[in-house]
Subunit: 382 residues, 2 copies
Amino acid sequence: AINVYVIGLGPVGRQVIRDLQLLNNLHCQNYQVDFRIVGVFDRTGSVISKQTDLALSSEVVQSILSWKENGASLADHTNGSGSTIDVLSSMLGANTTIIDVSASNDTIPVLLNGIQTGSTVVLANKKPISCRWSTYDAMVQGPGILGIESTVGAGTPIIACLDRLLAAGDRIDAIEGVLSGTLGYIATELEKGNSYSDSIKSAHTLGFTEPDPRDDLSGTDVARKALILARRCGVKNLHMENIAIESLFPNILQGITTTDFLKETSSLDDGFRQKIVNAQNQGTVLRYVARIEFDWGMHEYKSTPEAKVSVGLVPVPSSSPFYSLTGTDNLVSFTTRTYSDSPLVVRGKGAGVEVTSNGVIADMVTCARSCSMPNGEVHRHD
Amino acid sequence: AINVYVIGLGPVGRQVIRDLQLLNNLHCQNYQVDFRIVGVFDRTGSVISKQTDLALSSEVVQSILSWKENGASLADHTNGSGSTIDVLSSMLGANTTIIDVSASNDTIPVLLNGIQTGSTVVLANKKPISCRWSTYDAMVQGPGILGIESTVGAGTPIIACLDRLLAAGDRIDAIEGVLSGTLGYIATELEKGNSYSDSIKSAHTLGFTEPDPRDDLSGTDVARKALILARRCGVKNLHMENIAIESLFPNILQGITTTDFLKETSSLDDGFRQKIVNAQNQGTVLRYVARIEFDWGMHEYKSTPEAKVSVGLVPVPSSSPFYSLTGTDNLVSFTTRTYSDSPLVVRGKGAGVEVTSNGVIADMVTCARSCSMPNGEVHRHD
């Protein structure tokens, strides 16, 4: 059996827990892996199985799910252990999987500890692999196994497809992606003739944006995903500061409240309307695209290319796979030595609790069935 | 190290061998797997390393590649062993990978033997998994590991994406696919206003069709791929006879020579022209689509759904991802519980030596890093 610890009990964390319970038979029968939820953590505390290797009972899990749905803290839960994630450091090893679906930097030390002691780490949290290069590098060095599908495209198998290209030694020349469901939705609204300010307000009302919509509109979230894709391809020493990021609002609107920001956006309507008209006059549409261009130098098979990374609003011609993309779907195209004239394209839901949980669980199964081999060690499942 | 045997030395087999040699360092460094080509087989004979675990020398491999490029048989090669694939049965085990890139049924006994003794089997050959259900079932029962990516979509990661949906316990409701580069090309030519007969002739001349184009036009090849996808989703006891297949020529043209067939196709031009016009009048385009509709009954998570499978020419509206598909690209859409309103879509090259080899090699790496677990056994890499 594999001991599973879940960090983060927001909507995604709760869905992962529900799915793992529902799928336990299927995972045992079809994949010979038995995932047991033995501990859960939120920002305030945790509930941890009293006995190692013994799953939390369904009653306790149900009560935790209801507790969190009602907005309460684990610190106050009857079964609360009083411990924070630091306690995890004493529970790691080859038969342990840590799932991080928080949005925090605070989990990094425990995750690194997990990787170094042979645990599997599965992330929806982008922070641990989009912060400093040295942290990323330590996260992927093993001997533990790292699953990162749900950090890009909410679990749509973008990383899985990229990993296969890399395993086949294909030379990745360019990756282009619409990687934000929120910005995709806004682009679609603008195209329909709605104003910039109205588009943001409806995205905000529908819950498609972060609580502060500037977190999406700044492009930082998309840049983090582009950084993760570039690093996955072997680009070293690349940081957020190396990415050219186009923000969809001027700097002057950064220092005000969210409410004031939502009022001020109407001052940007004319500018965006003009951009849309200009694009349409050229037969193009505007998409917020992440673009990574690789330079492999002389060595087609060297594993450390250079890359130029940019994210921003670009006009897209009708020949592009991005042209027909609407709504909150994500789409990534890989141009490679093999896919040179026509790229490999993956398109799917780019946001949502279910698809993110799907990605986490597919990663868990894949990692559980992978041999951890950097030291010739084998990840055993007993 | 992993001992690799290659069955089939056509263009794909030779590309796999070249790629494996070129990528050996990358695979050792990044994936800790050392693939050693220890034997190669064609229809007539084989060249096998004299010493188990010792790779064939690059000189011998080079001479085999040239030998086969010149159309000669392995039976006549200086280093020929005089053995056919049956000899493989004594060379199997956990550190062995058999690659079957032939198009033959004759390999099935050896492949089954491989699977049963814990070898990894990687296929581009569709036959072993699209013939009788009982053979398919035996192929997937392990303890060996089976890689089948290159049997559908020439290596574009369609199976890999499907496998992730299945691991995540997503309920697959429908799969639709344009799975023939040849028929995609012909659809594009028809749309351009070219006649049916001319489209077939140019596809034939360009080498996009089988030597006898009826092998593509009959729909059998597409049906085999649909069968493989349906079986992968857990559909049991499904056979080729259960698939509704629309052939693109009448039965009466079956019993004649290829040359005569190519002459006779012009009699079908008017019929196809009318089909195209009818489709266009309804705002649609014609695509040769494989369609699998699943019925999961009451049990959302049971692993044995029923399925209706059909392949044929269908009118596609502009809202469909198939509408903008042109040329030889393949495209598959998965409609699932999670991807319900907007399907998960994978698009990429559906034919070609390089992409097929890519799929084989990505499968080899994935399988080599997977633990074979049905009996609690672990696939070791020493």
